[in-house]
C-alpha cells in the first residue's frame, strides 16, 4: 500500500462509527403517495390503501408498504438534494474523501431493509445515519475501490423505531476494471439462429408470428387443431383448414437444457421446452426468464416474442405472471425447498420513470435518458427502491395480504434497462419458529441477475381470509 493510500485509509477509518445529525422529513407519510406507489408496483394489498378493510385487518388501519421504509426521507423530502455534499453526514464526508482521491465512480451494491414497526399515513419519519464501515481497497470487475457501508435508523414522530437500512456502495476509480485488458472480451456479434424454412403449407404460421399471433391450424370440417401443421386432417382427410390464434397461455410439458456442444447462436443458459397450449396442442419453444433449476413440469407459461432474423419472429415462452392469493398462507403451508411461482416483470420506460418518481428518487439516471447516456449508461436504469418494491409485491402476491415482513435484503447486479424483462424466482430456504419464513430470490434480466436477495417473512397462525375481509 502506498503512503497516499495509507493516509486515505486512515482518514476513512477515522470517520467510521460517526453519526450524522438527525434528518426529518418535511412531509408526513401520505396515503396518496402510498396509493401511487402501489399503482406503480402493481401492489394489490388492500391493507395499504383500503381504510375499511385495513381497519379490521391485523394492523388496525392503513400502513405503508414496508419496502417504502427509506423513501420518506429521500433527499427531496428532507430539503436536501443536489447542492453538494453535506459533510456533517459521515458517509458524505467519506464519499468526498474518495472523490478527491479519484474514486469518483459509484455503484450501489446492497440495500438491506429491516423492519421494526409500521409506518402509517401522517407519520413524520426521521433518519439518523451511521457510517458503519469502509473496506480496505479492493479490486473488483468494475475497478479498484472501497466499499462504504452506512446504517440508517428510522423512527416515527413519536420516536418509535420503525426500521433500519444497511446500505453499501462501491466507490471506484473509473478505468481500473478487470474486464478490459486482462480478460478477453468476446464482442463478436452472435451468429443468427438456424433459419426456419417453410412452404405454403406453413407460411401462414410464420406470418402470424411476425404479427405476434400464435396461429394454430384448424381443419374446418372437424374443428381439429393440429400442430405442427399438416396437409390433411388425419381423421377425415379433409384438406380445408384455417387457423385460430392461440391465447398464448400454456404449461410446461417437458424440457431439456442443452449445454454441450454450445451453439454460438444461442444464449446461455438455453432452455428448450415442450409447451402444452391451453388449446390442447404442443409446441417446442425456448423457455426464457427462468433458470433450469427453477423449471417445473406443469408450470404456467405465457408467450413472448423474439425477432431472431430480419424477417423471422419466433415465439418464446416465459413463466406466466402468477395471480395474487386471496387468503394468506399460514404456518405449516410452507416447507424448506418450496419454490415461489416465477414472475416476469416487463421493464418499461414508464415503470422505470414512474417507479423513481413514486419513490422520491429524483436522480437523473432514473428518468433522463440523455443524462444517463452522458454517464456512460446505455439508457435510464431502474432505481433500487423500485426493484425492492417489485420484489416485495411479488412476495406478497405469493404469501397473501397479512404476511408480515421482517427484512428485505437485496444485492444489486446487472442494471434493469427499459425493454428488458426481469423474472423473479425464489424458494423457501428456512422455516423457523413463530411462522418465520426465509425466502431467497433472484430477479434476472437479459444481462444477468439484477437483484439477488432474501426476505424474512412472518406467516400468521390463521388466515382471516380474503384480505381480512372475512
Amino acid at each position: 500500500m502506498s503512503d497516499v493510500d495509507a493516509a486515505l485509509d486512515t482518514a476513512l477509518q477515522s470517520l467510521v462509527g460517526g453519526k450524522g445529525p438527525v434528518q426529518v422529513a418535511t412531509e408526513p407519510v401520505g396515503a396518496s403517495e402510498v396509493s401511487a406507489w402501489c399503482a406503480v408496483m402493481s401492489e394489490a394489498n388492500p391493507l395499504f390503501v383500503d381504510e375499511v378493510v385495513a381497519a379490521s385487518g391485523p394492523h388496525g388501519g392503513i400502513v405503508a408498504p414496508p419496502a417504502t421504509l427509506n423513501m420518506w426521507t429521500m433527499p427531496v423530502r428532507i430539503g436536501g438534494g443536489s447542492v453538494g455534499r453535506d459533510t456533517d453526514q459521515p458517509q458524505q464526508a467519506a464519499y468526498q474523501l474518495l472523490d478527491d482521491a479519484g474514486f469518483t465512480g459509484v455503484v450501489a451494491t446492497n440495500s438491506d431493509q429491516a423492519y421494526e414497526g409500521h409506518l402509517r399515513p401522517g407519520d413524520v419519519v426521521s433518519a439518523r445515519t451511521t457510517l458503519a464501515g469502509v473496506s480496505p481497497q479492493k479490486q473488483t470487475a468494475l475497478g479498484i475501490g472501497h466499499f462504504v457501508t452506512t446504517e440508517v435508523a428510522y423512527a416515527n414522530h413519536h420516536g418509535d423505531p420503525v426500521g433500519t437500512l444497511t446500505f453499501r456502495v462501491f466507490k471506484f476509480r473509473p478505468g481500473t476494471g478487470r474486464q478490459r485488458g486482462d480478460e478477453p472480451v468476446d464482442d463478436s456479434p452472435r451468429p443468427e439462429r438456424p433459419r426456419p424454412r417453410w412452404n405454403q403449407d406453413q407460411a401462414w404460421h410464420w406470418e402470424g408470428l411476425r404479427q405476434h399471433e400464435l396461429r394454430i391450424q384448424r381443419f374446418t370440417g372437424s374443428g381439429l387443431l393440429v400442430h405442427p401443421p399438416a396437409v390433411a386432417d388425419p381423421t377425415t382427410h379433409d384438406m380445408a383448414y384455417d387457423w385460430v390464434v392461440a391465447s398464448g397461455r400454456g404449461t410446461l410439458y417437458s424440457w431439456t437444457a442443452p449445454e454441450h456442444p454450445k451453439a454460438p447462436a444461442f444464449e446461455d443458459p438455453l432452455v428448450v421446452g415442450l409447451v402444452e397450449l391451453e388449446e390442447g396442442v404442443r409446441m417446442v419453444s425456448n423457455i426464457v426468464g427462468v433458470r433450469p433449476d427453477h423449471l417445473e413440469i406443469g408450470m404456467p407459461l405465457e408467450v413472448c416474442w423474439l425477432d431472431s432474423h430480419d424477417d423471422v419472429t419466433l415465439h418464446q415462452f416465459r413463466p406466466a405472471r402468477p395471480g395474487r392469493r386471496t387468503d394468506t398462507m399460514v404456518r405449516g403451508d410452507v416447507s424448506v425447498g418450496d419454490r415461489l411461482p416465477p414472475c416476469p416483470i416487463d421493464v418499461t420506460t414508464d415503470l422505470v420513470k414512474s417507479g423513481a418518481l413514486a419513490t422520491f428518487d429524483h436522480q437523473d439516471v432514473h428518468h433522463d435518458g440523455d443524462a444517463a447516456r452522458a454517464k456512460g449508461l446505455p439508457d435510464i436504469i431502474m432505481n433500487i427502491l423500485t426493484s425492492s418494491g417489485l420484489a416485495a409485491r411479488w412476495l406478497g402476491d405469493w404469501a397473501g395480504d397479512e404476511v408480515g415482513f421482517r427484512s428485505l435484503r437485496i444485492g444489486l447486479g446487472a442494471s434493469n434497462h427499459p425493454g428488458d424483462t426481469m423474472t423473479m424466482t425464489g424458494s423457501v430456504t428456512d422455516v423457523g419458529e413463530g411462522g418465520a419464513v426465509t425466502v431467497s430470490f433472484f430477479g434476472a434480466n437479459s444481462l444477468g441477475n439484477h437483484i439477488h436477495g432474501s426476505a424474512e417473512l412472518v406467516l400468521p397462525e390463521v388466515s382471516r381470509g380474503a384480505g381480512g375481509r372475512a
Binding site: 439462429r193 438456424p194 433459419r195 426456419p196 424454412r197 417453410w198 412452404n199 403449407d201 406453413q202 400442430h227 405442427p228 388425419p234 410439458y253 417437458s254 424440457w255 431439456t256 437444457a257 442443452p258 449445454e259 454441450h260 456442444p261 451453439a263 447462436a265 444461442f266 438455453l270 428448450v272 415442450l274 396442442v281 404442443r282 409446441m283 417446442v284 419453444s285 425456448n286 433450469p292 413440469i297 431472431s308 423471422v312 419466433l314
Partner: protein
C-alpha cells in the same frame, strides 16, 4: 409375418476395429468389413448378389461391389431413417433371399463418424429447401434443439416426471454396458468399467442427459451376410436363424422428435416392431435369454423393456436394478458393451453380438442363449430382430 420364420439366417459377420480415428477412408472400412463377413462364412465374395443398406450410409453398394469384384448385383435397397434401419437391412436381405431375388446379401455400415464429420454435432446447417423433411426441422432447430442428445433430453425429462425415474436409473444402463465392454477386447472401453457414482458426476450434455448417458461417435465398420437355410448348409458357420424381423412406424411419427403424441414416454414404433416379432417368431419375452437394445442414449433404453413386455409401462427402472440386465442377471443386455461401451456403429455391432450369442462365442456368453432380441434406433422409425440357434 412378413419375414419367414427360421428360413433364413445370418451366416457371416465381419468388422473392422473400432476407434476414434481409423486412419482409413470409410470406403476401405466398408470393404474390409464385407470381406471379413464373407471370410467368416467361408463364401467367395463374388458370389454375393445382393446388398442391403440403410440411410446415412455414404459407401454406396456400387462402389463396394466394384471393390469386391461382384459381377452382378440383383438386389440392392436402402432403408430410410438412419439408425432405425439397422435390423431392417437384415429383414430386407431375408426377404430377398427367401423370395429368390438374391442368393447372398451383404448388409453393412461403415463410417468415420468421429474423425470425419462428427455425428453428434447437430443439424444447424440442415435446412436447405422448403421440402417437407427440411421444414420438419423448423419446429425445433430455431429454438436450439439441434443434436440427437438434445432431442432425447426432451423425452427423458418427461419420462422422469411421469414414471418417477431418476438420472441414476439411466446410469444403471451405462454401468451395465460398460461392465460388459470392460471384458470385450474389441470395445472402445475395454478394461474401463464405470460406477454409478462416476455416471452421476459426469458433465451435463443436455440436461438431464449426462456424458455417460451418451454413446460416443466412432470410426469403424460392421457387415453381415444373409442367406437361405439351404445355402447355409454349404458354409462354414452355424447359422444364426432369423426367427423374426420387422419394421415399425407408429402414429404421428417424427425423427426423434415425436413430441406431439398423447404420451411421449413410450416408444410406440418399437411396440409395432415388438408385436410383429413375437407373433411371427412364436416367442415371447420369457423365451429371450439376451437382448441387444439400441442404446445411443440411456433414457431411450428404458421404454424398450416396456414395449417388448419385459415389464409394464413405467416399470423399467425397477426391472433393471440389482444387476438384472448384466451377465448373470435375468436378461443380460448389450453383452458386447453396446453402443455406450463397444462402439456406435448405428446398431450393426449389436446385431453381430446377437449372432455371437447364438453361436456361443461372445466374450460375455450367456449360458443357454438360444433366442436373442436385437433392436434398432429408438425414437425413430425402427426395426428389430429375433435371432435363434434353433432353425426351422
Amino acid at each position: 409375418m412378413w419375414t419367414p420364420a427360421r428360413q433364413t439366417a445370418i451366416v457371416g459377420i465381419g468388422a473392422t476395429e473400432f476407434s476414434k480415428d481409423s486412419g482409413r477412408t470409410p470406403m476401405q472400412l466398408a470393404t474390409e468389413s464385407c470381406l471379413a463377413a464373407c471370410a467368416d462364412a467361408g463364401l467367395d465374395p463374388t458370389m454375393v448378389d445382393g446388398m442391403s443398406l440403410f440411410s446415412m450410409e455414404r459407401n454406396y453398394e456400387i462402389e463396394v461391389a466394384r471393390n469386391l469384384g461382384i459381377p452382378r448385383l440383383r438386389f440392392f435397397s436402402m432403408v430410410n431413417h438412419g439408425g432405425g434401419g439397422g435390423c431392417a437391412t437384415v429383414a430386407m436381405a431375408a426377404m430377398a433371399v427367401h423370395s429368390g431375388a438374391a442368393d447372398y446379401v451383404l448388409a453393412y455400415r461403415a463410417f468415420n463418424e468421429r474423425s470425419w464429420h462428427r455425428f453428434g454435432s447437430g443439424v444447424q446447417d440442415h435446412h436447405q429447401s422448403p421440402e417437407a423433411n427440411d421444414v420438419s426441422f423448423s419446429w425445433t432447430s430455431p429454438f436450439g434443439l439441434l443434436t440427437p442428445a438434445q432431442w432425447a433430453g426432451m423425452f427423458a425429462t418427461r419420462y422422469m416426471h411421469q414414471h418417477g425415474a431418476t438420472s441414476e436409473d439411466f446410469g444403471r444402463i451405462a454401468v451395465a454396458d460398460r461392465r460388459h465392454a470392460a471384458n470385450n477386447p474389441a470395445a472402445f472401453f475395454h478394461g474401463r468399467p464405470i460406477t454409478l457414482e462416476e455416471h452421476q458426476v459426469s458433465r451435463i450434455i443436455s440436461d438431464p442427459l449426462r456424458l455417460l448417458d451418451c454413446c460416443q461417435e466412432s470410426d469403424g465398420g460392421v457387415a453381415l451376410l444373409v442367406t437361405t437355410a439351404e445355402r447355409a448348409q454349404g458354409l462354414d458357420r452355424e447359422p444364426a436363424w432369423i426367427a423374426a424381423a420387422a419394421q415399425g412406424v407408429a402414429e404421428d411419427q417424427w425423427m426423434m422428435r415425436s413430441y406431439y403424441r398423447d404420451d411421449i414416454t413410450g416408444l410406440p414404433e418399437m411396440g409395432v416392431v415388438a408385436g410383429q416379432l413375437w407373433e411371427s417368431s412364436g416367442l415371447g419375452p420369457a423365451d429371450i435369454q439376451a437382448a441387444m437394445l439400441y442404446d445411443h442414449f440411456t433414457p431411450l433404453v428404458l421404454p424398450q423393456f416396456e414395449e417388448f413386455g419385459f415389464c409394464g409401462s413405467g416399470e423399467a427402472k425397477d426391472f433393471i436394478v440389482d444387476g438384472n440386465i448384466e451377465i448373470g442377471g435375468g436378461l443380460p443386455v448389450n453383452t458386447n458393451g453396446g453402443q455406450l461401451g463397444e462402439a456406435y456403429i448405428h446398431g450393426m455391432n449389436g446385431i453381430a453380438e446377437g449372432v455371437r450369442q447364438v453361436r456361443g462365442t461372445s466374450v460375455n456368453q450367456v449360458d443357454g442363449a438360444v433366442n436373442v432380441l436385437v433392436t434398432s434406433g429408438s425414437g425413430v422409425p425402427t426395426s428389430g430382430l429375433v435371432l435363434s440357434g434353433e432353425g426351422g
